[in-house]
Amino acid sequence: MQLLLDNIASVLIASTVLLVVVATSLNTQRSAVEASVAYAAKKQTLTTADFLEADLLLIGNGTGGTIDTTIVNETGQTTEFSFWRQDDTGEAMLVSYTMTPSTSKVIDGQTVQLYQLNRSENGVAAGSGSSTLSDFTITMLRSDGLLAASKAEARLLRVRAVNVYPFGDPDNMNMFRSYWGITVRPPNLET
């Protein structure tokens, strides 16, 4: 009887230890994958952001025009933002940022529409950004920070973006979105 009890106890203890070790190992792996996905998404967001910021600061640079077109859709997303700036040869060019629906993802039980950010120069495709943006807005502000009623009033541009992680399962991750924002003050909007 004693032998039987000893065997049962040893099997129970061994199983418990094994379970804890396996669970810890799986958790470590999941955590590492989540960190990698978060890093990739953040890097993607910041790369797009850096380029966008540098581009927006050149609004009206060397040209007579500044902001050309801003189109906002029914959900408040900026689907098109166009402006004039100088190209490498000194000629005026129209740079357009457009948002086109790419795919959708279910996050927290809700289907979220994702968008691709495209960039064109004089109507010719010239670069693109993330294809997993759930929100993207460029808002024109007056110098006091209030919304500008017209392009002529705009002195600041408030950019806000949310990039959904391109990989992974939202149900098994603690975070699934990367936020970014900046307010730029293009020198040529002040004249």
Partner: protein, 128 residues
């Protein structure tokens, strides 16, 4: 008896390992979470500095010293509120604190959030 002690030791090691891993995971999550807030606070603070630079003349800057403001980062359905603290000091041409009035002032804005104990970001700009 020795086998009981060994079993206990094995369970202790497994439990400690699990706790250690869980703690590291929490710290990693907290760091990632804070970095998201830092990016949002960064956007809010930079906007506030631009607005101050555009709308406040040099002589009126001193009145902003010690002022507290609340500003929100809003995008989509998300709105996160930050508390901003403004400090204004006179600085020399090389940006060093000056106790006497100089032709340039340094405006510093720090953003805090109730979720975190330390300021998320601080930005400074010298205004002439």
């Amino acid at each position: 008896m020795p086998q009981t002690l060994l079993a206990f030791l094995a369970m202790m090691i497994a439990a400690l390992s699990a706790i250690n891993q869980y703690t590291a995971q929490l710290q990693s999550f907290e760091a990632a979470y804070r970095s998201e807030f830092e990016l949002m606070a960064n956007a809010v603070v930079l906007e506030e500095i631009e607005i101050i630079d555009l709308t406040t003349n040099f002589s009126a800057l001193g009145a902003l010293d010690g002022e507290e403001r609340t500003r929100s980062f809003e995008v989509g359905s998300v709105s996160v509120e930050f508390d901003l603290s403004i400090s204004v000091i006179y600085v020399t041409e090389s940006g060093v604190l000056s106790l006497d009035p100089t032709p340039q002032r340094e405006v510093a804005i720090s953003a805090t959030h109730s979720r975190f104990t330390t300021p998320l970001v601080t930005h400074k700009r010298i205004i002439v």
